[in-house]
Subunit: 335 residues, 4 copies
């Protein structure tokens, strides 16, 4: 496949812009030629121009109708994902869709069926799988050299909470934040989650209670392979983005810490000062965002399975639903 | 109080010998003068001689009858603790008792009532509180400089499992191993546990199933102050004694890692090799074992509250009972 | 200055290609439009095309003659630097020149005089100043919060040696390798070097002796501000690119380690395994190469002093000459 | 050899007391029975009593005359060492002598000859060889698994300077401080020093100039095996006792850092705070002081060569003399 893949980008929010810039600046083999953004404004147009995107439109259907477009990046709000996945599949376009696919299992299944029928590729944006650190944990476990996994631990804390307006519509911590960790848990354990027990607390901002949401969570998992897992979440770590993973296996343990801003150690009579973790996901997962797109494009070019499938997207939503139920009912939920 | 405290030691197993040697070699202000060991043999006698313990007996009552003895160290099997605590209290001797006090709450309460009535000191052997690392976490949290605790995490993995014969009578992982972590959880959080949810698995040795025990466990906790907690246990880490604690609070996080055998880093084309954690509790908590005895002796000399009280001993047993119940019934247990 | 800077690139070796790609892919505000490479071949032409460089030539004079070109990047062999700097200055082009400027002090002075007279900017390619780690050391020292510097330590080891053919013409370790460290020493100490004492040894490859060169070196420095410095060099560390710096000051010490491939720690009964440092300068200084070009372009646009001046280029050569003399004569050399 | 070695201790200064307490509290197989201290006072007598030393005297000859004494610990001022070594040898007592043996090579040689003739053991108190960290470096190098050594680096900084009165008589930094590092250099390199070049500076306290001494030093070494070495010294690190060693070899590098007070990491919006190194030699080398005595006693009991010989003591003095000369004359000194 000699020619460059022609990409249509749907949505010019933070993550849409990130993918657009990455594809047109850092990724070879693909080019975003068209941006569809329902609330298109001059700022979007300027951004598109600057990033070599020649066409902009308010109507995503312009992308689906464009036969020159090979693949779409769906970076619009979650509730629009299913519609766009189905339209893309039906017009024969490969699909990169941001997480979560949706919050409704039935609709996800319908969309996945359409994708399967159309024979197009679908990749879900679980970017953390492409982080050099987490990938090392996964690769070490998957290699089998430590034996079978016993305990999977995921620390996942945001540096600062989102605006409350976001909480109002996000579906709650298990859907907007832990969803990444549920995928990571499956990825690291190499096994499906069979049971979930979730604890939550409001420790940071009492306003979370208005939305029946929490800002602090602990979730225990059972995996089909006999391993146990635990995730701890906080919406406000303050010291940076705390993203550590650890798997204890038959023969020992593999763990990764954070990337730091630098490796400095300053020692004085007052103490020893080291650097903080990188601030948030844009800094920590900068290279991972590029790598996930490169792998998506390779999967299309080489006609292979994308590294994060629609089923992966579905599974993490199922776990999130179970976690939300467990938290609400105060007891474990079996998947 | 100018004179040395006169100590009677009950039990010359591993932990009894450890305390005996520590008191007579490394601790000032106290001296073990008598050892009572039901199964007294020549090896015990030789050990006593070597460690400056002038008198040995098969009968613990010889210690209780000896008016010159100020305090006893109860290092005999768990099922004998209550009897010896009561006898010591009734004969006016201060008491250092190894953990767990017992597995029966009613009996513990009876013993504690006797101790209170007698006005003697009682300290329980939760040695980890005296470790320089965990103590730093606790002191940082207790200082309030990080604000209130949100998440307490305890990793506690033994390098290798005990003999199965031990499992047969130990009461199971929550009583023989996690009991330390339950105490640590209360110590770090500075708050009582109000709910427990325990997961367990047999990942290391299928023979554990014969004893209805597990070798891998995850336990989630709720604390009265709103914090959440999690403990992960493995009976066979293989790489050493993995004892890490972490508390995330309003303003940030404090955590401690393991002590390592040395600080070496060896870098070659094959990789970078660091040292393993110290092997097991004798190595890791060597200094802590001395410190807990010193603090017990200070509490007697200064007539102050011992640093780990009978109530601390009781609480950890209550949590262990709840954890065992949660694991058995597959649902959370409220304390 | 609204328009993009128009850049002429001289030399399409490893470093020329690196700058060409960086400018045209990752740096905004500038564009390489022409490549001059004496030994221009099809591979060079394909690389230029791929990187959006529209014009190629065998004759650097085509660049100097092109009035649309604002600045040149001199990435040709060291012995050509002086000629190209002078031509660029005389044709009014700003200059980015790779290190070392040259090995002849007189010629360097002539070139610098021409640059000064022409009023163009000249920046020397000491890329390590733009590394996040070393920059942190420098900024900490320069802030004065640790007081005045006492001891400057630089560890600088290549993962593997260059081909012997390179050694034959490089001028030796002090000119081709330590030159970077001499600049780093001045940068960190914030002071000029006043005396040099160099030890060298052939420990890796006896063939270095044929070229009167060494593969292992230790160099001590005195600085005008009273600080002492030491650099250790090896041409073959094997475990990666070992680039650590440390400054001890009145009130304490600041040091930086290497960037690692990832933050993993794998613990088993066999030991604890961590990741190696990034392999070589392309990996370690990837971002620094982009940052130095961005700063050069900013200096032109804002008409400010470039962050690494011609004098910086001169000084490091003077120290290298002194180090070579010290090594040869076996005694300290005063600058 | 069933009976306990009977030890005579000469000198009850800081180091004498340390050895006395260690032998009588923590070391088995030996017992200090007599203390000789020229300036014996009530405080010394109380200390002796407390530590189970039954006899005290102002006259060291009482020790040499006592036929029941098997070995002496010479912890008196440096200028008395030679006399006491000779007397001990002539009265057939094994000798542990603190560093430095003396500052006069001729006198040292006389003493060593007497020791050899008498056939008694002589061990010099280079305690750092018994530190778990430095020992790991040495053992790694000596094992040969990294190949031959190329570069030896020693960082050795005291937390705070001694009183100026000490400087007045200490012989200067190379004799009172770097002497330890010279021994460490030989120990790590496994080879003799053939050339020394010393730089010094007064950066901390100008009063050092009155004594022709410095508070900051860098010393380069050449070893017979082709390795190069460097030592950096500061009399006032402020952040603790900074004692790191590193050896780069054919196949890679082994290094050790400091022992820290604890392993805590406190992360907040203000930064990441780690613990400081242990404060000074009493904390850092606490276990090493015990180990060196145990090894001395073993050497006597097993009739083997002590781990640090009189020749080791001589060599480090020779290097110190060369370093002092190099610093004074501003040029390298060949040994």
């Amino acid at each position: 496949m000699a020619k460059e893949l022609n990409i249509g980008l749907i949505g010019a929010g933070r993550i849409g812009k990130l993918h657009g810039r990455n594809i047109n600046s850092f990724v070879s083999g693909a080019k975003v030629s068209c941006l569809a953004e329902t609330f298109l404004n001059d700022e979007h147009r300027a951004w598109a121009l600057e990033n070599g995107i020649s066409k902009t439109t308010k109507n995503p259907d312009d992308i689906f109708a464009d036969k020159s477009i090979d693949a779409v990046f769906i970076c619009s709000p979650t509730e629009t994902h299913i519609e766009f996945i189905i339209k893309a599949a039906e017009t024969g376009k490969h699909i990169f869709c941001e997480k979560p696919i949706h919050t409704n299992i039935e609709k996800i299944n319908t969309a996945l069926a359409t994708v399967r029928k159309a024979g197009v590729k679908l990749q879900i944006g679980f970017v953390r799988r492409f982080d050099h650190n987490h990938k090392k944990v996964r690769d070490t476990v998957a290699s089998g050299k430590l034996g079978r996994p016993h305990i999977v631990k995921i620390t996942s804390r945001d540096p600062e909470g989102p605006p409350l307006s976001y909480i109002a519509t996000s579906g709650g911590i298990f859907f907007d934040m832990t969803i990444h960790d549920f995928d990571m848990a499956r990825y690291l354990a190499g096994s499906e989650v069979t049971e979930v027990m979730a604890y939550g607390a409001v420790n940071i901002d009492q306003d979370y209670k208005k939305y029946n949401d929490v800002d602090t969570a602990l979730i225990m998992l059972k995996f089909a392979n006999g391993a146990l897992g635990v995730i701890d979440n906080s919406r406000a770590a303050h010291y940076g983005y705390d993203q550590r993973t650890e798997v204890h296996c038959d023969k020992g343990c593999v763990l990764v810490g954070n990337d730091l801003n630098d490796t400095s150690v300053i020692s004085t009579a007052d103490g020893v000062f080291c650097e903080k973790p990188t601030w948030f996901f844009l800094e920590r997962y900068n290279n991972a965002f590029i790598a996930e797109v490169e792998d998506f494009i390779k999967a299309i070019i080489n006609n292979t399975e994308p590294p994060v499938t629609g089923v992966d997207g579905l599974k993490s939503v199922e776990i999130a639903i179970a976690a939300a139920k467990s938290f609400k009912e105060g007891k474990p939920v079996i998947l």
